[in-house]
């Protein structure tokens, strides 16, 4: 097993800085998602790792070995493309066998490993099927089989589930997660779907405008986002904007249109700076004696009901509660616990 380290890796295309210098260490057997909107540099980072794109600077190390200058074919990485990029003139077995044939393995060995790989991904019986005759989900599994069968040091995936419908996507997410847990393999997974990242990753690197904004476990990112961008990108969030008026002993006071809000101060917060109070919807409770609010929207989401509440100054907040218990009245009183509030710097 092998880990990978990016040292000051960056890339610009002409005047466009696709990726600003990134320092990132991925442990052996770790599943890391690169999560961000389009244009955040996540695919560039993946392509740099695969060797499809040459970096403008920095190094890529595998087990301390510098592979920055190696062509893709000498990197032993398995890549799953968003479009799958299956070889259309070959059947399923031909696609999966390709990397093994290139490695000059014996015929019998190739047959054995292809069969095992097809079985693992529930593709038995499709070996002789032309790839064009497969459904999207099957094509996706063939792409995964083709990448895994070569026993890559690092598995790279570029939004591999983007083309699948929602239900199938969930199944495949869990399937990939189970495979990873059963046999951990260093994996870099590019996605713009927070749910996907949450389901599968050991750690998530949130990217924006060519930088890694924050990296950590899903729980850490959810509980302690670095700034408003991360807070918005992971999970549902209420962000009440304002200015920091005081910071003391790890707590900050934010002056906003709804009045002062007290909460934990996130690192990098400065008095006078633009900031926002993050209050997750599950932390907004109904409580007599709290702030007066009006229910402006009720959304039934199955196991929970989401309520949009408007405060006196027009600020709106989402609240969610289990079941479809929803207040009968249009006017409610709400509050939250100060320890559930974080004051975050505004994303630059």
């Amino acid at each position: 097993m092998t880990g990978v380290v990016f040292e000051g890796l960056w890339k610009s295309f002409g005047a466009v800085e696709a990726l600003r210098p990134v320092d990132l260490a991925i442990a052996s057997g770790e599943f890391v998602s690169l999560l961000g909107p389009s244009g955040s540099g996540k695919t560039t980072l993946l392509n740099l790792c695969a060797g499809y794109v040459e970096p403008s600077g920095g190094r890529i190390l595998i087990d301390g070995r510098d592979i920055t200058g190696l062509p893709p074919r000498r990197r032993n990485m398995g890549m799953v493309f968003q479009s799958y990029a299956l070889f259309p003139h070959m059947d399923v077995a031909g696609n999966v066998a390709y990397g093994l044939q290139v490695r000059g393995l014996a015929r019998e060995e190739i047959r054995r490993r292809v069969a095992a790989s097809l079985a693992q991904l529930q593709l038995e019986g499709l070996a002789r099927r032309p790839v064009r005759a497969l459904s999207g989900g099957q094509q996706q599994r063939v792409a995964l089989a083709r990448a895994l069968v070569i026993e890559p040091d690092i598995l790279l995936m570029d939004e591999p589930l983007g083309a699948l419908d929602r239900q199938l996507r969930r199944d495949v997410q869990l399937e990939i997660r189970r495979m990873h847990v059963a046999r951990p393999r260093t994996t870099l997974y590019v996605t713009h779907d927070q749910e996907e990242a949450l389901v599968m990753s050991d750690r998530i690197a949130v990217m924006r405008a060519g930088r890694v904004v924050q990296i950590g476990t899903a729980q850490a990112l959810y509980a302690e986002p670095a700034d408003t961008f991360v807070a918005r990108f992971l999970g549902e969030s209420n962000l009440l904007p304002g200015r920091v008026t005081a910071i003391e002993a790890g707590r900050a006071v934010l002056a906003g249109s709804a009045g002062p809000i007290v909460g934990r101060a996130a690192p990098g917060l400065a008095v006078g700076a633009a900031a926002a109070a993050l209050i997750r919807p599950e932390h907004v409770h109904e409580r007599t004696g709290g702030l007066a609010a009006r229910v402006v929207e009720r959304v039934f989401l199955g196991e929970i009901t989401a309520l949009r509440l408007a405060l006196g100054d027009g600020t709106t907040l989402w609240s969610r509660r289990l079941g479809f218990v929803s207040p009968r009245a249009e006017e409610v009183e709400i509050s939250w616990n100060d320890r559930d509030v974080i004051i975050l710097p505004e994303a630059i």
Binding site: P71, R73, N76, M79, A85, F87, P88, H89, V102, I150
Partner: protein, 258 residues
């Protein structure tokens, strides 16, 4: 869709305009008389017998086929290599280079003929198979470069990336991924190149010699001496072979392209 009678009639007229000159030749080849007239007064195979009896015709036909095959082969090798090279150029350079490549298509053939004649003379290639093959290959290379270029443009560049990620070196990627996928374009271009050579007469007139003469050149010479139905037999042979070639090209090029 609603079809109108006027549109059908117009389409029919256009079709007739396109094929009538060709169709007019064929009946004359089966004429019993000694003059070219339509429709023939009586039918016979005497001109076909005459065609077979004169070794010059068969010789010219074989020369034509040989030149077409060799020119087609040369054009395919050169044109495919050119298309692969063009595809790697940056956009603006590619536009410019493509313009140069279609030069032989837009330059007047007679101008090319005069230039080639002068060149061929200085290399002693007038009246040789080699001279004809080179000249026809030059005419046909743009067709191959264009058809192969279309196939290459339709090729997903990620396939080559995927193959290289799986460990394949560039030559192997070409052999196992690129080549099989652009083969329809190559095959189509090959047939087109061969047909171009088979039909070509202007360059051939300049570059033919007493011993090396293609079928169109012989037809041309015969027409100038006497216009008998024998010439239309040769023309019919050419038409049939050219149509066969075109159909073959479509089958090869069209089938896997979808």
């Amino acid at each position: 869709m609603r079809r109108s009678l006027a549109l059908d009639a117009f389409a029919g007229a256009v079709a007739a305009f396109l094929v009538l000159p060709i169709l007019a030749i064929v009946p004359v080849a089966f004429s019993a008389g000694s003059f070219v007239r339509l429709p023939p007064l009586a039918w016979s195979l005497r001109w076909w017998a005459a065609f077979r009896a004169d070794p010059a015709w068969l010789h010219a036909l074989l020369t034509s086929l040989e030149v077409a095959a060799l020119a087609g082969l040369l054009a395919v090798l050169t044109g495919t290599a050119a298309a692969l090279g063009l595809a790697r150029l940056p956009a603006r350079a590619r536009l410019l280079a493509t313009g140069l490549f279609v030069g032989p298509l837009v330059a007047p053939v007679i101008v090319l003929a005069v230039g080639l004649y002068a060149l061929a003379r200085s290399f002693g290639l007038v009246g040789s198979i080699a001279g004809l093959v080179l000249a026809h290959a030059m005419l046909a290379v743009p067709y191959v470069a264009l058809t192969v270029g279309v196939s290459l443009a339709a090729l997903d560049p990620r396939l080559a990336l995927a193959a290289s990620g799986l460990g394949a070196a560039p030559w192997r990627i070409f052999r196992t991924i690129t080549l099989p996928l652009i083969l329809p374009g190559i095959a189509g271009g090959a047939v087109f190149a061969a047909v171009t050579s088979f039909d070509e007469v202007v360059l051939a007139i300049f570059l033919s010699g007493p011993a090396v003469k293609t079928l169109p050149v012989l037809i041309w010479e015969q027409v100038r001496v006497e216009f008998t139905p024998l010439v239309t037999v040769a023309a019919t042979v050419m038409i049939v072979l050219a149509i066969l070639g075109a159909v073959l090209g479509r089958l090869l090029g069209g089938e896997r392209a979808q």
